[in-house]
Symmetry: C2
Subunit: 514 residues, 2 copies
């Protein structure tokens, strides 16, 4: 009996000592079974339909280099740029895509096993607006972008600082990719993404990565992720293909992302839409291996269904969930890691709609077994803005999804079941040694959700989740500590940026990426 008070004291102290934990969680190792809504025959039916599309309908590659590449490997090209891909060639090409690899970060403690059972959470990118710490919707700046990179660095379940989480409007568009890349590298020592807004921009990113990691290291280690969107149905354009080549040549992984608005640029039906998307993804995945055999590549997509009332993309709909589950099956069928979008919302503010939509999408992705969970924090208004408040709530949701996907722990089963006998009918467990030793790891306790009584909540200011999260994000930024870059590396990066900014005209065509 003498043990009990001492243990209770320790338990309480541990609870009181609890401060914000910013230590990154390892790459998620999945323990929960996957949700696979298709039978093996149905997977083969999708595969066959996709291969038929590739052979008979063909895919347009609006890019002379790609057409030449395809001809070189024996693909049939009709009408100048329409590539008809034989299923044998496609299967042969995608066979060399690695099923797993490790992402290397500048802090080796943040390296990430990736693919198969391993998954990572990556913030949203590409928002032309933000909702700031005062909930004002406005165009972002480089400082805003830096703040998002800092929040990513401090969020344990976010594994990447991504790249242009928001578009920094205070810097010339033609030079922006340099400052964005530098911000990702400087404010976080996690892995990040590389801009693919043009082939030249992608090459700049590669050069900056070479400064940070070394040329030779990059040849054998993935250190960054690019994204190339398709123009569904069945078109890949020159900008994206050129950027893709820049990454593939340096052995860096690219998300091969059909951009699907279900019903608008696909048939209005779940399984046929997946068949088209799958054909598109396969065509790009195959092309990465034409560029460089064996280079890493990720089966990707942006996927929404479209409201037939307004033409607007929707989030959290049942068909998006089902399609994600199906796409996971297809990617695993081909042995390729895959990407989806984790926390989508179409709401204009961080209201209940945003919560329902984001949580539904995130849960579906967990069940689907997505490897690269992009857009996992901040996304709202169909990607038109990134909300700082939503960013921190989503990051906590990712930590909760992470915990769920790990599955069940059995290590304390016998000792905890024995506690049932200790306590007996009608008792309570709050003071039991097993409870005191385990409560911190037993049940996830969100910081950002209020579960107190209404009286307590009113006494604390009656703030809704949006306002609480703004204050939380502000506090996080105050506590941020920069993971300093090596001084020589930092200087080399800045020198590269200065050199390139002197070369690139400050005005250029509008860059786009989603």
């Amino acid at each position: 009996m003498a043990e009990k008070p001492a243990r209770r004291g320790r338990g309480t102290r541990t609870a009181l000592r609890a401060v914000r934990d910013v230590k990154m969680l390892p790459s998620l190792k999945r323990g929960l079974p996957l949700t696979e809504p298709m039978s093996a025959e149905e997977v083969e039916r999708i595969d066959a339909a996709s291969m038929d599309i590739l052979e008979n309908v063909g895919v347009v590659f609006r890019d002379e280099i790609a057409i030449a590449d395809w001809k070189r490997v024996g693909a049939e090209v009709r009408d100048g740029d329409r590539v008809h891909l034989d299923r044998g060639l496609v299967r042969e090409l995608i066979k060399t895509i690695p099923e797993t690899f490790t992402y290397h970060a500048r802090n080796p403690a943040h390296n990430l096993p990736f693919g198969k059972d391993h998954a990572i959470f990556v913030p949203m990118t590409g928002a032309p607006f933000l909702r700031d710490l005062d909930d004002v919707r406005r165009n972002p700046t480089l400082d805003d972008l830096a703040n998002f990179h800092k929040l990513a660095q401090m969020s344990p379940a976010l594994h990447s600082s991504a790249h242009h989480i928001v578009e920094p409007y205070d810097h010339p568009i033609s030079q922006r990719h340099l400052r964005i890349t530098y911000s990702s590298m400087k404010h976080s020592d996690k892995t990040f993404m590389g801009m693919t807004t043009s082939p030249k921009n992608a090459e700049d990113v590669m050069e900056m990565c070479a400064i940070l990691f070394g040329d030779e290291f990059m040849e054998t280690h993935p250190v960054v992720t690019g994204n190339c969107n398709g123009n569904s149905p069945l078109v890949w354009d020159e900008t994206m293909l050129g950027a893709m080549r820049a990454f593939c040549r340096r052995n860096q992984p690219v998300l091969c992302s059909p951009f699907v608005l279900g019903g608008a640029n696909t048939p209005a039906s779940v399984a046929p839409a997946v068949a088209q998307l799958n054909a598109e993804a396969l065509s790009a995945l195959a092309y990465t291996q034409v560029v460089r055999k064996g280079c890493p590549a990720i089966y990707g997509h942006y996927l929404s269904t479209v409201s037939m009332k307004s033409g607007a993309p929707m989030a959290g709909t049942p068909e998006i969930s089902l399609m994600n589950m199906m796409i996971g099956q297809m990617a695993r069928f081909y042995g390729v890691p895959w990407r989806s979008s984790a926390s989508l919302g179409g709401a204009k503010t961080l209201d209940a709609q945003a919560g329902y939509e984001s949580a539904t999408t995130l849960m579906a992705l967990q069940m689907a077994g997505t490897n690269y969970m992009w857009h996992a924090a901040g996304w709202n208004e169909a990607g038109m803005h990134c909300s700082m408040a939503k960013f921190v709530i989503d990051a906590e949701q990712c930590a909760m999804a992470y915990r769920m996907a790990e599955g069940i722990r059995w290590d304390d089963f016998d000792v905890a079941v024995a506690a049932v006998g200790d306590i007996g009918p009608g008792g309570h467990y709050l003071g039991h040694p097993h409870t005191l030793a385990n409560f911190q790891r037993a049940f996830f306790m969100p910081d950002l959700f209020d579960n107190n009584s209404i009286e307590q909540w009113q006494a604390e200011g009656a703030e809704e989740a949006n306002a609480r999260a703004q204050a939380y994000a502000r506090k996080m930024l105050n506590e941020y500590e920069e993971p300093k870059l090596d001084e020589a590396v930092n200087e080399a990066l800045l020198a590269y940026i200065a050199k390139r900014e002197s070369e690139i005209p400050a005005a250029d065509a509008l860059n786009q990426e989603y």
Copy 2:
């Protein structure tokens, strides 16, 4: 080509004609695979631990009749009321619980196959407060309750009008169960729930059901659902057991619901908490068969994890999701239908927190394969209030969850894949005959979520989801049409209520039910 304009016109007209569909969806027939996080060995490990608890720790039945019943069937009773249940006896007893049955509603079109692959959505109950159409949090009245019953009647994915969705404070507590039951019966012709706030109250419900359905019919047809909460750990009390007997004797199903606050009244660990909950559920399920062999019974629970910071129950945590998935496996192992709570939230308003929590819970329940999805609409503030706005949003979420759980349709696969060839690279599908013929069923379009541009949203008043849903609920109530009771039945019900209200003193002990 002449076909196309005509079809387009038809499609557009169909879209414009779309009015609120209040036709109830059939009982959900699941097509999506279940998420089962335990191996067969792990299921048996839980089963063995639960049986050990039942044999060695025992369960307290604080009720003389139950103790006498248990002695009669040969169970060992120690210390007056602690029943030690042999696993052989438990297995023998639960064997006679029907794995499936059909709920009968007063409108036979609303009968519901139930159990195994079939699932139903049931609104929340028991809220001492509501948030009304002006978002005012106040004590509810019988009129408020009637409004919730009307909303349940009009929501296609809600299969039940439940019972005291909110507590009507304008009627004496001791007589309230009569008016609540009448309200369920009068305002909706779907199935409903019966009050179990005391054995006498439960008997009144049975009498009223006999007036509505006929005594003999009830003997062979489930027409109502009761709920009996346990006092975890391992206690069942006299009130609940008496009410349970009233239902079982009339062959009506009861939810056998351990009331679990994980970490407070269970061990602080997922699998051991499930082992205890499972023992508790089994003890009550077994008792239903002692009362009446073969009567329907449902494996039930209310399940939350507790914040070790504040002691408050939480919603949407990863452990709740995992436990629900595990409990589903246990219920299926025993061949008994099961209940969980679908749309829980701990938020004080219908803010983002409410959305995240509810959607996470609902998605987990879909994956877990819950048969009786109680608390599926309206629940917020840990059950302290029912929100009219949240009620209608949740009801739409249930319709979306329903669609997801149905799984994938393949009936139009070949024709829709052929459309990919019709459209070709770079086209769009909006005018294609397949799109026009299928868009209304292809992709769910929520009424309550705004997916328009911010400019459009601002032009329409810049309302958040909560305000939009209040207006929507108000409009629904204006459109409500009462499914009239047969006049003789109505008079008989009113006569019964008048008689009982003349017999029951207007003041009585506080009734509680969750």
